[in-house]
């Protein structure tokens, strides 16, 4: 299977004043199409940094990150933005919906930025997705009128509306109770199966990892190993 993401010896350093803080210390990782991958590790292990590099939100200090066959270090800021718009969908820990727009408009927003579809086409696609995430009745609601789980469903719909090859989710269930979180993961998994969309999500929650078909474990900015969820669950020595 083709690798949609290919990370090679990626190093990312942040500078805080005069101090260089290494966030990633040389990570190599391949993600193939249709994967449902969890990136696990304690806080500060570099999960979010790795996701940022894969999501073209950031570029590595050294090493390389290829997404959909493109080396992100070679791309301009504008090209990176375009890559995000057309290839990647994002799901955020705290949903990050635009509070002043309705549910429908939030989902439609990436399509408007893409400027590919006509109004009716957009409406059709948004409606279908609303149906898919079980929020058919909520199109005209504002995010503030929804529960946390409902909001994250809207965010998932927004991430999927452009039919991206890759969806990144940063701790998608961290702000949800465990039952709702499980529902959200079920939904993501289902979409992964039916739409063949690749999902990469970060988590430090064992029960969340259980949904993945592979778990990549990070510690101190380094990739520890790549295991199955069962292995990960079995190794109790891992930090929670």
């Amino acid at each position: 299977m083709k690798a949609i993401v290919s990370v090679r010896e990626a190093v990312k350093n942040y500078t805080l004043g005069n101090v260089v803080v290494p966030a990633l210390r040389g990570v190599t990782l391949d993600v193939v199409e249709g994967d449902f991958l969890a990136i696990a590790g304690p806080s500060g292990s570099g999960k979010t940094t790795l996701l940022n590099l894969i999501g073209c939100v950031d570029t590595p200090t050294s090493g390389s990150v290829e997404v959909a066959g493109k080396d992100t270090r070679q791309l301009s800021e504008r090209e990176l933005t375009d890559l995000r718009l057309h290839t990647i969908g994002f799901i955020f820990q705290s949903f990050n919906l635009v509070s002043v727009l309705t549910v429908f408009q939030n989902i439609e927003l990436p399509l408007l930025l893409q400027r590919k579809l006509t109004g009716p086409e957009r409406a059709q696609r948004v409606s279908a997705l609303l149906e898919r995430v079980g929020l058919r009745e909520y199109g005209t609601h504002r995010p503030s009128e929804l529960s946390g789980g409902q909001r994250q469903r809207v965010a998932i719909a927004r991430a999927l509306v452009t039919r991206p090859q890759l969806v990144l989710a940063d701790e998608p269930t961290a702000n949800l109770d465990s039952v709702t979180g499980a529902h959200i993961l079920d939904l993501m998994r289902e979409l992964n199966r039916t739409e063949k969309t690749t999902f990469i999500f970060s988590t430090h929650d064992q029960s969340v990892m259980a949904h993945a078909n592979a778990v990549v474990r990070l510690a101190d900015g380094k990739l520890v190993d790549r295991v199955t969820p069962a292995q990960a669950a079995a190794e109790t020595g891992l930090p929670a």
Binding site: N52, V57, R84, Q105, L109, L113, L117, T118, G119
Partner: protein, 743 residues
């Protein structure tokens, strides 16, 4: 394209929703912009209306749309708002006919009015001078009487005039007594006191008829000089062609008297000057009190100005007393005793009591004054029909005097109360030229005739010294006094001439400097003054002389007043073509300080607007920065899901512009409403200056479309400027910031 529009739709929608979401920010920013829009529209409209009405005043009264003068002039032309200090140094335009022909070539020029503006100090007749002149005439009539009837008639007149002079002398005696009470004894010349006491004595009047001319001379030399009731007044005048003036400035209307006929010498007083400066002061004050109480809603009890006028009327009855001869004194005493009522016999005290008015009795006293007392008084120091002698320094520095009959008074419709519009009197062009020192054909002929009569001849410059101070000097130093009539030596106003009978037109002296007056007066008299005075009434100048002569400037009336700038260019170009050095300026420049006044207000308004918008800029900027910082996460999210920076920029700019448009529009709308409501009611003119600026009693402001456009432009500019910095902040938000959790 459609998708692009849809994007814009989303941007707009997000902008609108954001505005609603952060109401406080929107209200603060919007409020400032609202106020700014209101100020721009209302302020500018008011100012434009003011300029428009003021331009009507300036254009309609003297300036015309454009003023033309000689480009070689050292100073710039100012037809209005001149200070008392001399005339601007203007070069003359030699031939008005030529100038006019050139100007009329310019397509937009409707008519041209010749002008020259200058001024002279004028001393009006002294009451005692006039009384003494009447007495002298009566004495002469008695001397020259052929029949008994004539002698008896003259005798009565002498007696009456003697009574008047004695009355004046007794007023003077009273003045001296008062002076002694308040002044240091040494400042009063004992000789003056002695002279007044002598003139007041019965012995003096018993001896009067023995040597009447000697007695008169004593009175003229020793007494008249002490009765200084003659005021100096400065008359500004425009020399012009009356007919062209009236036609071009159609707001001009004759109030009293008649228009000066074509080709004649003549003088028209501005009604305002006539009332303000030439009317009996007590009467003028009564008019002003009436105006204040009846038209301006003030009361004598509360208004300090009116109170002061009442006080002045009470204390300054002398002006009236001096006019009263024996018969009038008796008449006034009886009338005032009845009216007040009072047992007092002193007319001065009776008058003082009469003028002690309050809000209750004022109207009755006012009517009584005009009905019973005024007919016996000279209400104006110059009457319509009098011949005014104006003496002015010519440009070359010698004094020139001209006699001009006063035909009447005029005012400009709508500007009746304006001091500014009513400050300029009108004079015929021929007289003006003479006063200014230009030689008219008539004057040249007169000089030639005089030279012939005096045996004078042209002297070349090289030989002048020898000729003048050599052996033949006596001939040229012939004292002019030798020509005066017997018995009239001494004080100037005692000559006969036009005013020999009472009731016939008097002569009023007008000179530039009082000190020069007596000397120059006699010179003027000897140089054919009598001839001049007769000529002043009867002579008709050929229009050619009026037309072809020298003028200082010319007012140009346009067919299309909107094209002033273009026409100025065209006039100067046409002048060049015709070999004339013409300088054309618009009415605002011609109005001098008054024209500048509008610019000053405009600058003040613009500075105020600038300051308000600068403050607005800071506040709006601040509010937008705060709002942007609050939205960092949202912006980061938008960037993460694929929004380019320009999308973020567009979103913020649209927000600002929407606020600008809505609130600026509301402000401008309120401004329009305000101005149109005020435009219906009008802003009342508080004082005479405002009558001029408002071109009438009220200013009716109107809305100019340019002001609304300006308001929007400024509002948009400010909105755009104030969103620069917040937009810059927003554009630097990275998509990574969407991922950061506030913990």
């Amino acid at each position: 394209m459609r998708a692009w529009l849809a994007t814009l739709g989303v941007v707009a929608q997000m902008a609108f929703r954001n505005l609603f979401a952060s109401r406080l920010k929107t209200i603060i920013v919007g409020g400032i912009i609202f106020f700014g829009g209101l100020l721009v529209v209302a302020g500018n409209s008011l100012l434009d209306s003011l300029v428009a009405s003021m331009s009507r005043s300036v254009i309609g009264s003297v300036a015309g749309h454009i003023q033309v003068y000689n480009a070689k002039s050292k100073d710039t032309l100012e037809v209005m708002g001149r200070m008392m200090m001399g005339d601007p140094d203007l070069s003359q335009l030699d031939d008005f006919a030529k100038v006019r022909a050139s100007l009329l070539q310019v397509e937009n020029v409707k008519s041209v009015v010749p002008m020259g503006i200058s001024g002279a100090l004028v001393t009006s007749g002294n009451t005692i001078d006039l009384a003494l002149e009447k007495l002298r005439n009566a004495v002469k009539a008695r001397r020259d009487a052929k029949t008994d009837a004539q002698r008896a008639e003259a005798e009565t007149r002498v007696a009456s005039e003697k009574g008047h002079v004695r009355q004046i002398v007794s007023v003077l005696q009273g003045d001296l007594k008062n002076a002694k009470a308040v002044l240091d004894e040494r400042t009063i010349d004992p000789a003056d006191v002695a002279a007044v006491n002598r003139a007041a004595s019965d012995a003096f009047w018993q001896d009067f008829d023995k040597e009447p001319f000697e007695a008169l001379e004593f009175l003229e030399n020793r007494i008249a000089s002490q009765a200084a009731d003659a005021d100096l007044l400065f008359l500004n005048y425009i020399g012009t062609d009356f007919q062209a003036f009236q036609k071009s400035f159609d707001r001009m209307k004759i109030v009293e008297g008649t228009m000066v006929p074509a080709g004649k010498r003549g003088f028209l007083f501005a009604k305002h000057v006539y009332e303000e400066q030439l009317k009996l002061k007590a009467a003028r004050r009564l008019d002003q009190i009436k105006e204040g109480t009846e038209n301006e809603g003030e009361t004598i009890a509360t208004d300090p100005d009116l109170k002061r006028m009442v006080r002045e009327n009470v204390s300054q009855v002398r002006e009236i007393l001096l006019q009263l001869d024996a018969a009038k004194t008796v008449d006034f005493r009886a009338k005032l005793q009845r009216e007040l009522p009072s047992q007092e016999t002193d007319v001065g005290k009776l008058l003082a009591a009469f003028f002690q008015t309050d809000d209750q009795n004022f109207r009755g006293r006012y009517d009584f004054f005009y009905k019973e007392l005024a007919p016996s008084l000279e209400l104006y120091r110059v009457r319509i029909g009098d011949v005014l002698t104006i003496k002015a320094f010519t440009r070359s520095g010698y004094v020139q005097s001209v006699n001009v009959p006063v035909y009447g008074t005029f005012e400009f419709q709508g500007l009746e109360k304006s001091t500014l519009a009513g400050a300029l009197n009108l004079m015929d062009m021929v007289s003006f030229r003479e006063l200014y020192g230009f030689m008219s054909g008539e004057k040249l002929a007169e000089i030639q005739a005089l030279q012939k009569a005096a045996g004078a001849r042209e002297v070349s410059r090289e030989n002048a010294e020898a000729e003048l101070f050599g052996s033949k000097a006596e001939e040229t130093e012939q004292p002019p006094i030798a020509r005066t009539e017997p018995g009239s030596a001494g004080r100037s106003p005692s000559r006969g001439g036009a005013g020999t009978l009472s009731g016939s037109p008097r002569r009023i002296e007008a000179t530039t400097t009082p000190g020069v007056a007596p000397v120059m007066h006699d010179l003027g008299e000897s140089l054919g003054g009598k001839l001049q005075r007769e000529e002043a009434r009867s002579r008709v100048f050929p229009s050619d002389e009026v037309e072809r002569g020298v003028v200082l400037n010319a007012a140009v009336i346009l067919k299309n007043p909107k094209k002033i700038k273009e026409t100025i260019v065209a006039i100067e170009a046409q002048g060049k073509k015709d070999g004339l050095t013409l300088k054309a300026i618009d009415w605002q420049a011609a109005a001098g300080l008054i024209g500048q006044f509008v610019n000053v207000i405009r600058i003040v308004l613009y500075v105020a607007i600038l300051i308000i918008f600068l403050i607005a800029l800071v506040i709006i900027n601040n509010a937008l920065v705060m709002a942007t910082l609050e939205r960092v996460k949202e912006i980061g999210t938008l960037r993460a899901i694929g929004a380019q920076r320009r999308f973020i920029l567009a979103m913020l700019v649209v927000e600002s512009i929407v606020v600008g448009f809505i609130f600026g529009g509301l402000g401008a709308g309120l401004g329009v409403l305000l101005v149109s409501v005020v435009g219906k009611i009008g802003i009342p003119a508080k004082s005479d200056v405002w009558f001029f600026f408002f071109s009438g009693p009220r200013l009716y402001p109107f809305i100019g479309t340019s002001n609304i456009i300006a308001a929007f432009a400024i509002v948009l500019l400010v909105s755009a400027f104030s969103s620069f910095y917040p937009a810059w902040i927003a554009m630097r938000v990275t998509p990574r910031q969407a991922m950061q959790e506030e913990e």
